[in-house]
Symmetry: C2
Subunit: 403 residues, 2 copies
């Protein structure tokens, strides 16, 4: 039977990732993978969470196993707000928080309830691939702003905003990952952050601040939240426990003005009714008993060493005219290779030699970035990091000579 | 600040439920509630799940706490398929299964990837409110087919199909809850099921079979799945562990032809990436260790007694010209009261006397059903069931005399 006649036209907005398909093929072989975004399994607090899960189900099972409100378990939302305040996130009087099924659902909520087809929205260029995918299902015009080692170039942003205004176009929001940005690993300077928040006020747009990584920066770095700099209720803050407790719990959240959270709540009710009650009760206890704090300390230790290994190996093995920023946190480094290298073309060769990565072009709004690749350092072992980067270095050199 | 300019037009498709708001107000008082759809907390297998969660996290934590594939944890999907085959669900060679965040996400997937605006789709009238809400976000034309004690009147369906065909209109799918239907509690006869499957072939449409309740029918009843009667790959089967293990885990699934499941997988990736890995590992063990089977037996015992209490109380307390069907399973009974009664109008009075229910009109596709109400018997205690139904009977009688 031909099912295509039963499939809606909108389904085409959900693209199968070409990269994902490619990686499926090459990862089937035994290779070192810099492609994923998994936390190091060593950082997952198994014993503490096992005990918490046991106690929570046994003692509070009639709540923890039952339905819960769409906005989230009330006692968990209270704990979460306390936790966020403690790490310097400003929670305004008019704010509210909704628990989401991973922060991916936060991105989907933006897509479904904020973006109208044709809207102008702005992201870093490159930016998080899954955010692009989610936003694109609502058919906006996405404008990418280049980055340097201080993050999004807000002076370029200002120019683009003026230009768009002069064309009679209004920008609805800027989406940004200010700290340890995915895919580049770059952190925005405080000055740029302030500039961005000023521009939001001046040009009347919202900011969606996606912040999975600021909780475990390894080096000294400014992690002031845009949310905290904002005094007009323009910043909506997305977070997740995926990297500081466990991705398998699927706990994310959106914190922002209650008018927006109310809209998200209404949509979420139709989308999945609520996020796992059990996960929320476990997360509550994990925060209150200090398990999240311990996990953060462990993650910092583990990832600093791995980051150092990768940065060192890159310095030793990459050809001239390569560029990357040493990240202060997060899970990723993006490498810009010389212009003649096409990392997508190079992937099969690298896989044959024993290593895979994510070709960077998919993270770019405008189809540029063919000479970039995203490398994950959180999951592979130290030896794998060294060997993998060596291999990439070798393959790149060969291609430069060959071409 | 006025946030309305930042909110997308599509957000209006997600309606705030008027009933939900009303219930928030009236449920704040201490009243007997027939309004929810919660399982009896006694049926939740706390001790077994506490032990399972502990062991799963401790022994398989590097998988159970980690990211998992969008389609679901592979070993859980295998267990699930075995479980479904055991309860008589036909799994065809070309079928695949995707794990969803509750079966609500299955409904949302239908809405986002199957329905085009203006499509004709068909449901029972009345039908599950949250299915209507989810479908309506895709702006279809929904045609409701009346029910009697044998379920959807398929002869009426056939007439409507002919009529629509003669108008050049194609029906994309029929959505049905054949067993212990929500809100009516009615179960479709085998004859009607066969007729429905024949019509799907004859008029070339899909069937979405939503089946949360057939696992725990209390009386002798035919629970043959439409999925099993189908030999053409037209039936897509939605299920959930919410009523036979725990709603708090948020585990649902969709089983159907892989061409459809592939589309769902692509969309889900953008929606929430994946359903809780931990919930899936717990669910796998709960099925394999017989905890689901035990929970089902417990639910049958508990709900049969409560159903009996409610049906008996209804017989004693409802006025003439009231109608309901004694359900063989599920959580709900719908009562049709005499035409002059408006159950929404009556709700405040009932709440003042100490009982709330869901006015039935919201479940109807066409705004009819003003004289109906949905009563939940799974959550309230036996004494509450008796007292609550007595109160409703008294209020109805008063209104009939008064009017």
């Amino acid at each position: 039977m031909d099912y295509s006649k039963f499939i809606g036209r909108n389904s085409e907005l959900f693209k199968a990732s070409e990269i994902r398909e490619l990686l499926k093929v090459v990862e089937a072989r035994k290779v070192i993978s810099f492609a994923g975004g998994y936390p190091d399994p060593q950082t997952l607090p198994r014993e503490s969470l096992a005990r918490i899960a046991y106690e929570v189900i046994l003692n509070q099972g009639d709540k923890a196993l039952q339905y819960a409100p769409t906005k989230g378990v009330t006692v968990f939302r209270e704990t979460l707000l306390k936790f966020l305040r403690n790490v310097g996130v400003k929670v305004a009087e008019e704010d509210d928080v909704i628990v989401t099924t991973g922060s991916q659902q936060g991105l989907d909520l933006i897509s479904r309830t904020i973006i109208d087809p044709g809207d102008y929205i702005i992201t870093e260029n490159p930016t998080y691939l899954a955010a692009l995918s989610a936003f694109r299902t609502a058919r906006p015009n996405i404008v990418g702003i280049p980055v340097d080692e201080y993050g999004m170039k807000t002076e370029v942003l200002e120019d683009r905003l003026r230009e768009l205004r002069s064309q009679g176009r209004r920008v609805k929001f800027v989406y940004t990952i200010p700290v340890a940005h995915n895919p580049t690993g770059i952190t925005m300077s405080l000055e740029r952050k302030k500039h961005l928040v000023e521009l939001a006020s001046q040009f009347d747009f919202l900011i969606f601040e996606d912040d999975p990584y600021s909780f475990f920066v390894f080096d000294e770095a400014d992690v002031t939240k845009l949310k905290t700099l904002d005094s007009e209720g323009r910043v909506v803050y997305l977070g997740t426990l995926s990297k500081i407790l466990s991705p398998g719990l699927r706990i994310g959240w959106v914190l922002g003005h209650k008018q927006i959270i109310d809209v998200f709540e209404r949509a979420k009710q139709s989308m999945d009714l609520q996020t796992s009650t059990l996960s929320q009760y476990i997360a509550k206890e994990a925060i209150e008993r200090g398990v999240v704090a311990e996990t953060i300390e462990g993650a910092k230790r583990t990832y600093r060493v791995k980051r150092d290994a990768m940065v060192e190996s890159l310095s030793e093995n990459m050809v001239e005219n390569s560029w990357w920023v040493k990240p202060v946190g997060g899970l990723f480094i993006m490498v810009w290779l010389p212009e003649q290298i096409d990392t997508k073309e190079m992937l099969t060769e690298a896989a044959n030699e024993g290593v895979v990565y994510v070709p960077g072009a998919s993270f770019f709004v405008d189809g540029s970035g063919k000479n970039t690749m995203r490398l994950n350092f959180s999951y592979p072992k130290i030896e794998e990091i060294r060997t993998g980067v060596e291999i990439i270095g070798r393959v790149v050199k060969r291609r430069i000579k060959g071409g």
